[in-house]
């Protein structure tokens, strides 16, 4: 035993720390299942994509489809609505990005980037207010787009946030027109 170096670690110190570390990892591993069980289960995650028949949707009409437990608004906008959305200067927008899952994440929030590709009258978006998740009411509010009754967010005719507490434009889900009258979401 060295008298000159009384604080030199011993083999016992090493064993103590090593045992403690193993116990900590073990405790964390034992706790994890109790936390992870709360995450969405396999049935919820098995998200099928859905096909929607949009042949009956005339200009100025909307339907709501249910995808992943949430409503998706499918609207054939009128020409006036498209014109109003195109007329909004980009600088006026609270959220300048398109939030379109089919485009790069930094695409600007122009009307073309929000609407269905090649069918600018069609708007397909998750109808959930980006504030706290209420479902906005269609064709109402100051911009004649959507108005969220919960805390007063207003969206324009392209579903872009214009005023109120919501931070983002309503999300555009991954979708595709598989024919002129069928839409696949997801």
């Amino acid at each position: 035993m060295s008298v000159d170096h009384p604080i030199e670690p011993t083999r016992r110190d090493f064993l103590l720390i090593a045992t403690g570390a193993v116990a900590a990892v073990g405790a964390a591993a034992a706790i994890w299942p109790f936390i992870d069980q709360m995450n969405p289960d396999a049935a919820t995650l098995a998200l099928a994509s859905i096909e929607v028949d949009v042949s009956q949707v005339a200009p100025g009409q909307s339907i709501t489809a249910k995808w992943r437990g949430r409503p998706v608004f499918i609207r054939q906008r009128t020409d006036e609505e498209v014109k109003a959305a195109k007329g909004a200067p980009l600088g006026d927008l609270k959220d300048p990005v398109a939030r379109n899952a089919n485009l790069p994440s930094d695409a600007p929030a122009t009307d073309e980037n929000r609407a269905a590709p090649g069918k600018e009258n069609w708007l397909v978006m998750v109808g959930v207010c980006t504030h706290l998740g209420c479902i906005p009411l269609g064709q109402s509010g100051d911009y004649d787009g959507w108005f969220c009754p919960c805390h007063g967010s207003t969206y324009d005719t392209a579903g872009r946030i214009r005023s109120g507490p919501a931070p983002e434009n309503m999300a555009i889900p991954p979708f595709e027109f598989t024919s002129d009258t069928t839409l696949r979401i997801g």
Binding site: R68, G69, C150
Partner: protein, 436 residues
């Protein structure tokens, strides 16, 4: 305070118990012989009333859980069955639903009583902090309980409140999915809320025990804010406080029963009698009345503040409005406890009461027109009260002369007391002066 025990077992059996588990001694020392200031008024009965309400909520809740189904397909129907088919089910449910409201009535009076008489000041900081913890647990319990009937307000209230978590960058969405067990409020959410709603009241009961323990270590405050000094300042808990608390409970229960039996749905929202519909938000979502001031603060932030967007800002302001209470013992710089002797604080106290009620009213209005602006003004004042007015006021305010002791305040200045009247605040009348 909790000094030495004066319990004397009366017979051999009690002596036998006392030597093995001195529970009777604990009860005797805490609720019979425990000395309380002789000048407590009825504002001090709400602690007892709150214990009673917790008991009522647990008993009615256990009974309701025997008939309720925590499944989204059955929940709404099972509540209707409780109302129509279960023997006395209507009574149990109305007692439970209105009991929650009256629990909050009592807790708000209890909190404002503490604010008025400076009950949070040294040496009672931990007592106060435990109280704020209980308040937070109560809010979580009440929120989850309101989801269980699975009506429209249940569903959309749950959507909005769990939506708070999405405000936090990066971790927000995973946390929300962890809480909901899905991408939207659904059966998984309802089921776990039922489980937690059953658990939390027992956690509240545990913290209540700590709260009472801390109270019995420091002793109660009283309307003068002067600490207990001699035996003349106190009376035994039984019969004095027992009887006074008892009368307080009876009067409180009269109001409670008036609601339970004559206007059981007055405090509820009619939309909660519409089954939950995930595809349709009610035109106007309002939380239960006891959350309205906080809801108004959430909605008051409609603009981005630097890197913090409006949504995160609203959520931070709302949580902050309660978190700030944890720091109250150190934000209030005045050494005098009671508002009775603080003429300016007393005015600001009542302004705060009015501001809170005003915010509550704004929370019940739609978020349109002038209302968000008014809510912003109310919110700014609310925070200014804690963060500006209280720290500054303690430094500039001249308090009134404090009585030398509780006995003197009650029995008049001619009460024989060694302390010379008119001197500087007598020792013990201010919070921990030796530390300042």
């Amino acid at each position: 305070m909790s000094g030495h025990s004066s319990y004397v077992p009366t017979n051999r059996f009690m002596r036998w118990v006392d030597a093995r588990l001195p529970l009777p001694r604990l009860v005797y020392d805490s609720f019979v012989a425990f000395p309380v200031p002789r000048n407590l008024n009825y504002a001090y009965t709400f602690g007892g009333i709150l214990s009673l309400m917790l008991g009522i909520q647990i008993v009615t809740g256990v009974v309701l859980a025997m008939h309720y189904s925590g499944n989204s397909a059955l929940a709404f129907h099972s509540v209707e069955q409780i109302m129509r088919d279960v023997n006395w089910g209507w009574l149990m449910r109305y007692m439970h639903a209105n009991g929650a409201s009256f629990f909050f009535v009592a807790v708000y009076i209890h909190i404002f009583r503490g604010l008025y008489y400076g009950s949070y000041k040294a040496p009672r900081e931990i007592l106060w902090i435990l109280g704020v913890v209980i308040f937070l647990l109560m809010m979580a319990t009440a929120f989850m309980g309101y989801v269980l009937p699975w009506g429209q307000m249940s569903f959309w209230g749950a959507t909005v409140i769990t939506g708070f978590f999405t405000a936090f960058p990066i971790i927000g969405d995973p946390i929300q999915q962890l809480l909901l067990g899905g991408f939207a409020v659904d059966n998984a959410t309802l089921n776990r809320f039922f489980s937690l709603h059953y658990l939390l009241p027992f956690m509240i009961a545990g913290v209540v025990i700590l709260h009472i323990w801390a109270l019995h270590v420091t002793g109660q405050t009283n309307p003068t804010g002067v600490e207990v000094k001699t035996k003349d300042d106190v009376v035994p808990f039984t019969p004095h406080a027992t009887i006074k608390d008892g009368l307080g409970m009876v009067v409180f229960l009269l109001f409670y029963c008036w609601f339970v039996f004559y206007m059981p749905n007055f405090l509820g929202h009619p939309d909660n009698y519409i089954p939950a519909n995930p595809l349709k938000t009610p035109a106007h979502i309002v939380p239960e009345w006891y959350f309205l001031p906080f809801y108004a603060m959430l909605r008051a932030i409609t603009f981005n503040i630097g890197p913090i967007d409006s949504k995160l800002g609203g959520v931070l302001v709302m949580f902050g409005s309660i978190i700030v209470l944890f720091f109250l013992p150190w934000l209030d710089t005045s050494r005098v406890r009671s508002a009775v002797y603080r003429p300016i604080y007393r005015i600001f106290f009542w302004v705060l009461v009015v501001d809170t009620i005003f915010l509550g009213w704004l929370g019940s209005r739609p978020a349109e027109g002038i209302y968000p602006t008014l809510a912003l003004i109310g919110t700014i004042y609310y925070f200014a009260h804690w963060l500006v007015i209280l720290p500054v006021l303690g430094l500039v305010e001249t308090p009134r002369k404090l009585p030398a002791s509780i006995a003197e305040a009650v029995l008049g200045p001619n009460y024989a007391s060694g302390t010379a009247a008119g001197a500087a605040p007598p020792s013990g009348s201010v919070s921990a002066p030796e530390n300042r």
